[in-house]
């Protein structure tokens, strides 16, 4: 191979040799384990981009929330009747007690919500500094992060949706069918027993997966964007229907907050399911695209 002769002894060549060897091992493994190509490159790229963007959105969003850590219903803030209010109370001994008020109920949440440590000192703040971006109270900077990444979230989401519709990924893999709906009770029972699909059935998302992905991508995603836009006074002037749909700007803010925590809830369940159904296999399928199928009993090898 004359073209690589010069490069034969360079570190680059060594890397290339190792890469080729790894590829060969993977091909061999694939023949035995029944590896199939599960996720296209478009899905993988938008998935990881979304993971980063959502993390930034959640954390910068909580930074913004901390500027006024209370939620209301309606067009305006009824300061006397918040739905949720994170605040602190000075104790007789001088310490700060963190309080989470939900409706008229008060819960002590010192250390996490209402009052938490910032550089070793207990201060009044809604969410603790380890989950806000940036850590210290810095609304202007939180907004810069949030509104920059909001564009990335929308662009990435739109790119994924366009790809999914164009490639058939949406119709083939995501759109729940009537059969899926009928399968729900069985799927719930299977999930509860941690019995996951094997063999040919593992090639497709199960009914609960489909419904979860479908609702998160095409329900929660647009909803969090629209409620976000409803908080913009200019957008409300441009589209008065926005505050009308959500019952006012403060309602939209509350829904936006609920959406954010729905994303967080989805993320937690998602991670748990990834771990329970095979961490490495799942992780690899979202990195290289390859997913190994464990043959089901009765499947022909």
């Amino acid at each position: 191979m004359p073209r690589s002769a010069i490069l034969e002894h360079t570190p680059l060549a060594e890397i290339a040799r190792r890469w080729n060897a790894w590829q060969a091992r993977r091909r061999d493994g694939a023949r035995q384990k029944k590896i199939f190509y599960r996720h296209s490159v478009a899905v993988r790229v938008t998935h990881w981009a979304n993971a980063i963007v959502l993390a930034v959105m959640l954390m910068s969003g909580l930074q913004i929330f901390n500027a006024h850590p209370a939620l209301y219903w309606g067009a305006a803030s009824d300061f006397y009747h918040p739905i949720v209010w994170l605040h602190a109370e000075q104790q007789p001994d001088g310490s700060l007690k963190g309080i989470t008020q939900i409706g008229t109920h008060e819960f002590t949440t010192t250390g996490i919500l209402g009052a938490s440590n910032m550089n070793g000192a207990r201060v009044e703040r809604g969410f603790p500094s380890w989950i806000t971006l940036p850590g210290p109270q810095w609304l202007a900077m939180g907004r810069l992060w949030h509104f920059f990444f909001a564009w990335l979230f929308v662009i990435n989401g739109a790119a994924f949706a366009a790809y999914a519709l164009w490639s058939g990924h949406f119709r083939r893999d995501l759109l729940p069918t009537e059969k899926d709906v009928k399968h729900i009770p069985q799927e719930i029972a299977d999930h509860a027993r941690l019995r996951f699909a094997k063999g040919e059935a593992a090639r497709h998302y199960n009914a609960l997966q489909k419904i979860a992905y479908f609702l998160v991508i095409f329900g929660l995603g647009p909803l969090i964007v629209l409620t976000g836009l409803t908080m913009s006074p200019t957008m409300d002037a441009a589209f008065p229907i926005l505050p009308w749909i959500f019952g006012g700007r403060q309602s939209a803010r509350t829904i936006h907050f609920l959406c954010a925590f729905s994303f967080l809830g989805f993320f937690i369940v998602h991670i748990v399911m990834v771990v329970l159904s095979g961490t490495w296999n799942n992780l690899r399928s979202m990195i290289t695209g390859e997913y190994a199928i464990v043959p089901a009993e009765g499947d022909r090898a």
Binding site: A75, A76, R143, L144, W151
Partner: protein, 262 residues
């Protein structure tokens, strides 16, 4: 057990990466260049929002029944300067609002002058950058009427509102500079919007001191920090580069975006 080792390594690597990326984000926030990258989205948002809202899309107007029982007053709520106190004691009869800069006909208006102009009354929602909203009724002179009287020159691009309150008044820290005055700016599209008024009344009564007596700006498609209180000067400029910190407003100089439509 290589598998559990690998797992432990991964867990620790993830935790480490998490901590690193957290402090990394904080460090990035403190660089000169990264906030500028983030801020590039401000122009995109402004252009997109202007595209949809146009010049004249109106902010929603409410009914008297919607008026908030408690309208929060943020920023300065009681300017401490002796000259302001003296004006307040006399009911602001000596308050003057010069309209100057790039205008063909500089003006020097009193509150009585403004009251003689045609007025606009609107019940609107005030959205604070912090996240809360309050609804109030405002009465005042449309800024476009005042600008039409002053005849802006063709190179005038922004309207700057100078205010009587200072940094010490805004953040409540008496050690702060009393030379740094609050100011804000709008471009001509927002300044000549039908709902942009110089308000002298709130909820049917003369503007109270916490809300900016005797005169505050209402720009209903923008966030609260744009709506300067204690307005005592209106200057038309081509650029706000040489005013205050050069970013077009008191909060803008502290890192908030000039475009306050979001």
């Amino acid at each position: 057990m290589p598998d559990s080792n690998r797992r432990n390594f991964l867990v620790r690597a993830l935790a480490g990466a998490g901590t690193l990326s957290l402090s990394g984000c904080y460090n990035l926030s403190q660089t000169q260049w990264w906030p500028k990258v983030l801020d590039s989205a401000e122009n995109v948002s402004r252009v997109a929002q202007r595209f949809f809202a146009g010049r004249n899309a109106l902010a929603q107007e409410f009914t008297k029944a919607d008026i908030s029982p408690l309208f929060k007053a943020n920023g300065a709520t009681d300017p401490a300067s002796p000259s302001y106190k003296a004006m307040a004691a006399k009911g602001f009869v000596d308050w003057r609002i010069p309209v100057y800069g790039l205008v063909d006909r500089p003006l020097n208006l009193s509150i009585a002058d403004l009251r003689r102009l045609p007025s606009r009354t609107q019940i609107t929602r005030h959205d604070c950058v912090e996240g809360w909203s309050c609804i109030g009724e405002w009465k005042g002179a449309p800024l476009r009427t005042v600008l039409a009287l002053a005849k802006p020159k063709t190179n005038a691009r922004y309207v700057v509102f100078h205010c009587a309150d200072t940094q010490a008044d805004v953040d409540g820290n008496p050690d702060e500079s009393t030379d740094v005055h609050y100011y804000e700016s709008l471009d001509l599209v927002e300044a000549t919007h039908p709902q942009t008024i110089l308000a002298y009344e709130m909820n049917g009564a003369p503007l109270a001191i916490p809300h900016g007596a005797p005169l505050r700006l209402r720009a209903e498609r923008q966030l609260g920090y744009k709506m300067a209180k204690y307005v005592n000067g209106i200057e038309l400029v081509e650029s706000f580069e040489h005013i205050g910190g050069g970013k077009g407003g008191y909060w803008e100089d502290q890192g908030y975006t000039w475009w306050a439509g979001i």
